[in-house]
Amino acid sequence: MAAELIFNCLVGLGIVFYLIQAFSLPPTDNPTDVLGAGGLPVILGILGLVVLAAITVRVFRARIAVKIPMFDLGSLDGRSLALNVALLFAYMMLLDVIGFVLSTLLYLPIAAWFIGYRKPVALAVFTVAVTTTFTVVFGILFVVPLPRGIGQLRELSYMIY
């Protein structure tokens, strides 16, 4: 129950922040635009808070425990998931630094290994095949400007896509 209450509090804080911002939006010059830019956001914010309050009351009454493995770092599942979330975050951050090809070559095997895959040769083949396919299909065939990284890596990427 505690986890859901914390979640509801965070959602509630988000809605309150949204509502404060909505109230501070400038009024419209057009007298027929009754709602203005802030009209619907204010209505949505108030409605959101009312519904959230009703849900929270129900959570209090039901008292059902919800397990969130992502935050349970003591368990193997929790650690595996948290590591994968962190890895995805690192993958995103590295995209603009070392480019798409290198970051994907790093991400795929490490993430699969952390999930529990233990066949190095198959993993290597999979990593190279997926990275090559994505680069060729998106970068070369469909001319999507994939992230190139910085410095020398950027220059090198122009030789591929």
Binding site: F7, Y18, Q21, N30, A37, P69, D77, N84, L108
Partner: protein, 498 residues
């Protein structure tokens, strides 16, 4: 008759046949890859049409359009990652079917429904194009608002388990849709001076995060506890038997009618029609043995029929009025102009063969989709044979690429990540991700048409009820919202009487 024979000659010749095959397959592949839209597929084909005759160019572009409209369902069913926005509703029942080991059946249903929807819309287009275009033009802000509300009301059927949490999910989706520049008076809202937020948060990136990335997170934590031999089975496409198809004829026809009608309305789009068709079907078949959201075949038939029926529907205002109703038809209209055709009221008079050529191209592409779609979808089906650690990382990398290539923006990737974590928590606390996406997709339409109608009405909202079409749609909204309560009440009365 001469005109039809000329059109037959233009479509059914060896070169056209090759173009239909290539175009349909190319459309399916582009539709199946998140981040590559149908409009992008058509744009990529455009340079090849420069030297073609108008007939051949039309055949190719229509084939790509039909293939793209169906392709989105492949990744929606196999990976829970809708390849196109129109395939969002297909994930609701398509992915649960794939999880039960019925991926082949789900893909077969999608292909069958897409083919049916396309042929249905082609027939409607041929019979009533000018008349339908006139009706579509009568749609103004009041009708658009009512249509948006009708779309939102589907939440009662797509997230029926917990209506309160579904309502909050829709509200949160609507709130996210208000981020960016207000399109009525240009006020910056909730952007905090960040340029990437000025264009708003697009539902494609949220969808990829909340559906695909969140699903991978969920599977990672369950990976060690489940029977991982299940996913090793082969995926052979099972097309629906004629007898089974006949049993569900009403779902095919109803969804196709919804798809054609909404497709004709400019700017309404396939995602709205597929959601409304899904909502209507799940409402009218809620007592089926397999619940909606747990792998009900009608949950695939309805959105896919509606989505592809929108293809013929969307071409009606494009050709007859010169008004492209969607980004895809805008690209097609541009292509028509490049090859020397000027869409508008005079097009059908000056080019009498054109309508029949488009009709036959649609039918040809739909038939190819039905018979040849097996081959392409089977190749995608092999993905399911991968062990989950490889499949999961593949989905993440593809999702990231899809989010990035959508606007070539790194910020979209960050939004995808946030939506992924948010979607995971939504799933844990039993909130509704489809309802959130519904709010996000329809938010713009609802707010803009609501405010425009109030401005047109000098600050009053009477226009919503004084315009007959708007009033009828609003009454439908009331019916859809009140029906669950009404049927519950009736059920209680029956049980107490017994």
């Amino acid at each position: 008759m001469d005109v039809f024979i000329q059109a037959l000659g233009a479509v059914f010749n060896p070169l056209s046949a090759v173009l239909v095959i290539v175009g349909t397959l190319f459309g399916i592949v582009c539709g199946a890859l998140p981040g590559l839209s149908t409009s992008m597929a058509i744009i990529l084909c455009l340079p090849f049409t420069y030297t073609m005759s108008p007939d051949l160019a039309i055949v190719l572009l229509i084939a790509v359009y039909v293939g793209g409209a169906c392709g989105g369902s492949i990744s929606a069913i196999l990976l829970k990652t809708p390849g196109t926005p129109e395939a969002v509703a297909t994930t609701f029942d398509g992915y649960p079917m794939a999880q039960k080991g019925q991926a082949g059946m789900a893909l077969g249903l999608a292909v069958t429904a897409s083919s049916f929807g396309t042929i249905f819309s082609a027939i409607v287009m041929l019979m009533a194009a000018p008349l339908l275009a006139k009706v579509a033009l009568s749609f103004q802000s009041a009708e658009y608002f009512a249509l948006g509300l009708l779309g939102l009301s589907c939440v009662t059927s797509i997230a029926a388990k917990d209506q309160l949490k579904a309502a909050l999910s829709v509200i949160l989706g609507l709130m996210i849709s208000t981020v960016g520049i207000d399109s009525i008076n240009g006020v910056e809202r909730f952007a905090f001076g960040q340029p990437f937020l000025l264009n708003g948060i697009h539902y494609i990136t949220v969808m990829i995060g909340a559906f695909a990335v969140a699903e991978v997170f969920k599977n990672i934590e369950e990976y060690r506890h489940r029977d991982n031999t299940l996913q090793q089975g082969s995926v052979s496409i099972e097309l629906m038997k004629f007898g089974e198809m006949v049993k569900m004829w009403a779902t095919f026809v109803k969804a196709s009618v919804i798809g054609v009608i909404i497709g004709i309305i400019p700017a309404a789009g396939g995602s709205i029609s597929s959601l409304i068709a899904y909502g209507e079907t799940s409402r009218s078949h809620k007592h089926d043995a397999i619940k909606f959201g747990e792998g009900n075949p009608r949950g695939i038939i309805a959105p896919e029929s509606a989505n592809n029926a929108g293809v013929g529907g969307a071409l009606v205002p494009t050709m007859v009025l010169g008004i492209p109703g969607s980004p895809v038809t805008a690209v097609i209209m541009a292509a028509f102009m490049i090859i020397g055709l000027r869409p508008g009221p005079l097009l059908l008079r000056d080019q009498p063969v054109l309508l029949d050529t488009i009709f036959l191209s649609l039918v040809f592409a739909a038939l190819l989709l039905f018979f040849g779609g097996r081959f392409v979808t089977r190749q995608f089906g092999h993905i399911l044979k991968l062990p989950y650690p490889l499949l999961g990382t593949l989905i993440i990398a593809l999702g990231l690429l899809g989010a990035y290539s959508f606007q070539n923006s790194f910020y979209d990737v960050i939004i995808m990540f946030i939506a992924g974590v948010g979607g995971y928590l939504f799933d844990k606390f039993k909130y509704s991700i489809p309802a959130l996406i519904l709010g996000l997709i329809l938010g713009d339409l609802v707010e803009n048409s609501l405010r425009k109608q109030i401005i047109i009405g000098d600050g009053t909202a009477m226009g919503f009820v004084t315009r007959p079409v708007s009033l009828v749609i609003l009454l439908m909204v009331v019916f859809v919202l009140a029906w669950p309560m009404f049927s519950k009440l009736m059920g209680k009365r029956k049980s107490s009487a017994a």
